[in-house]
């Protein structure tokens, strides 16, 4: 019974913890401008992240070591350094975007400008990551993030033109007034938002933090194959509600206040409160994950002591990297760059860094020296290779599409 409860808690946490500022922004923008014609992208992205998160979880559970640690050992310091450089840059920028997202959520709740919140959020984030236990952080914000389910219910409540939405979803392509370049730019951004590199590093290091062993493979797989798709459903609901409320008015969405509006239209102040709470939990939870992921990757690359399971003075360099990452994230925002714009840039760079993250994972997951008989089977390798081709295509296309479409401006 205790094990079932632990698995259920893990699934709920995975659902609530799946969505971050990238998912919120990319799905809402896409829904407003393109209706549901990008509906296939989150589906493709969720299958991809499930395939690679399963590999990462299996590697951690069987070997007792995180993926990044093994990447350096298996592929050597040079390849691991390329992996580290790409993913760290993207993860620290994402951390900045998440902190900005927390600031924006607090602004919606208080009307105090987000820039005034940013340093406060930075300090609170650092204190929480210093003091609180890993499981508490994961469960608290994962479960609170479930408040975003308000968008699923709102979609059902808004009496959408389902025929029109179905037509958009089954006929992918740009609507009148948009072009194919912009359509593909948003497709790449949505795909990158679902497959953000920090997610697999966090999942794999989190498995070690929670002392997973081969016995926990079931927990890991249930989290991935049930929790992640349901989390993806929350992100998709943001697209669907934006497609219902904004797309018929031929308008685009470029602020968090607009993203929250469909929940208010459907359920008034209660819906609005749930949406703001969901945004806060999703972005704060993701800020913790990205902060920890930055420190995990650096510490694991250099072979330092790492992890929340150690006392801070036993992993001083790990906590220093964590603190510096938060400072950099805050500093980026204090340049007054719009957090939504920062998120858009982060998604593009994330798309570029995807192959650097996922190729090494595929290699390690096929190494019987670490995994014994738990190496990838044909199905896992089939999906792994297919997604490697897709992430490579997204990585090559991301920058040219960004330039040609002027960041999706058309």
């Amino acid at each position: 019974m205790k094990r079932v409860l632990a698995i259920a808690l893990g699934v709920l946490t995975a659902i609530g913890g799946f969505v971050d500022i990238g998912d919120i922004v990319a799905n809402a923008e896409s829904g407003a401008r393109f209706g549901l014609s990008h509906a296939w992208v989150p589906l493709v992205g969720v299958i991809g992240i499930c395939a690679y998160a399963e590999m990462s979880g299996r590697v951690s559970a069987v070997s007792g070591r995180p993926v990044f640690d093994l990447v350096r050992e298996r592929l050597g310091p040079r390849v691991a350094l390329a992996n580290l450089a790409g993913s760290l840059l993207v993860t620290v920028l994402t951390l900045g975007a998440e902190i900005g997202g927390v600031g924006l959520a607090l602004q919606l709740a208080t009307s105090v400008g987000y820039l005034l919140w940013v340093p406060v959020v930075g300090v609170v984030l650092w204190v929480v990551l210093w003091r609180a236990k890993f499981s508490l952080l994961e469960n608290l914000f994962g479960l609170t993030g479930l408040a975003l389910v308000v968008f699923v219910i709102a979609f059902l409540h808004l009496h959408s033109d389902t025929g029109q939405l179905w037509r958009q979803a089954t006929h992918p392509g740009p609507p009148v007034g948009e072009d194919w370049g912009t359509y593909w730019f948003f497709a790449v951004a949505l795909f990158a938002s679902a497959m953000t590199p920090y997610e697999v590093f966090f999942f794999s290091s989190g498995g070690v933090e929670e002392r997973w062993s081969s016995k926990d493979l079931l927990t890991s797989r249930v989290n991935v194959f049930v929790g992640f798709p349901l989390g993806g459903l929350l992100a998709f609901a943001l697209m669907a509600t934006a497609a219902t409320v904004f797309h018929p008015l031929q308008m685009s969405v470029d602020s968090l206040s607009q993203v929250a509006l469909p929940a208010a239209v459907a359920f008034g102040k209660l819906g609005l409160a749930a949406a703001i709470l969901g945004f806060f939990a999703a972005t704060f939870g993701a800020a913790m994950e990205t902060g920890l992921s930055s420190a995990y990757t650096v510490a694991q690359y250099f072979g330092w002591a790492w992890g929340k399971f150690r006392r801070p003075n036993g992993a001083a360099r790990f906590h220093t990297v964590l603190m510096v990452s938060i400072l950099v994230g805050v500093a980026v925002l204090m340049t007054t760059i719009d957090p939504i714009q920062l998120t858009e840039y982060t998604l593009v760079f994330s798309a570029v860094a995807l192959p650097l993250t996922y190729l090494p994972i595929l290699v390690v997951a096929n190494d019987s020296g670490y995994l014994g008989r738990r190496v990838n089977g044909r199905l896992a390798n089939g999906f792994g290779l297919l997604y490697l081709v897709i992430v490579l295509a997204a990585a090559i296309a991301a920058i040219p599409l960004m330039i040609v479409t002027r960041m999706g401006g058309g």
Binding site: T110, S111, Q250, L261, K269, L272, G409
Partner: protein, 158 residues
């Protein structure tokens, strides 16, 4: 290849990139480029006005908190202000472009005024008037955006 050769190649490539960028930004604006800027500004103003309508309607239904309402109007006004600034810094390359600008500027100004009226409204009647005004401006901007998009499709991409 020696390190010095690599450095020379890298420096030459960087210099070429920099020169290309400098040439690009120092070019006088083409009419098509200006039309694209006008289209983006009109679309931003339209989005802000439509958001204003949506927010004000929910306000009438008592569906929003004060803090949210303040933020939503602030966001909309900031978006229009950014668009206005973009338009102000672009120089119209010919008379046709200037005529286009002269059609857009009053609509953008109306959007800012209507949004401010909605944000400042203290009773339902004033808010109702602000909704009507924002709706009118939004429709006019929508028509302009559609016209500019049609022109863009006819003339081809800039």
């Amino acid at each position: 290849m020696k390190l010095i050769h690599r450095l020379i190649i890298a420096a030459t490539a960087l210099l070429g990139l920099w020169a290309g960028l400098a040439y690009q930004v120092s070019q006088p604006p083409a009419a098509s480029g200006y039309a694209r800027t006008v289209l983006q500004v009109a679309a931003s103003a339209h989005d802000a006005a439509t958001t204003g309508v949506l927010v004000a309607r929910q306000q009438l239904r008592d569906h929003l908190t004060d803090a949210y309402t303040t933020t939503a109007y602030d966001d909309a006004v900031r978006a229009v202000a950014g668009a206005q600034q973009k338009l102000a810094t672009a120089v119209a390359p010919d008379d046709a472009s200037a005529a286009l600008r002269d059609r857009l500027v009053p609509l953008v100004q109306d959007t800012v005024r209507d949004l401010s009226d909605a944000a400042a409204a203290r009773d339902e009647t004033t808010l109702g008037h602000a909704i009507d005004a924002l709706g009118r401006t939004s429709r006019q901007l929508n028509d302009l955006v559609a016209e500019l998009q049609a022109n863009s499709r006819r003339d081809g991409p800039p």
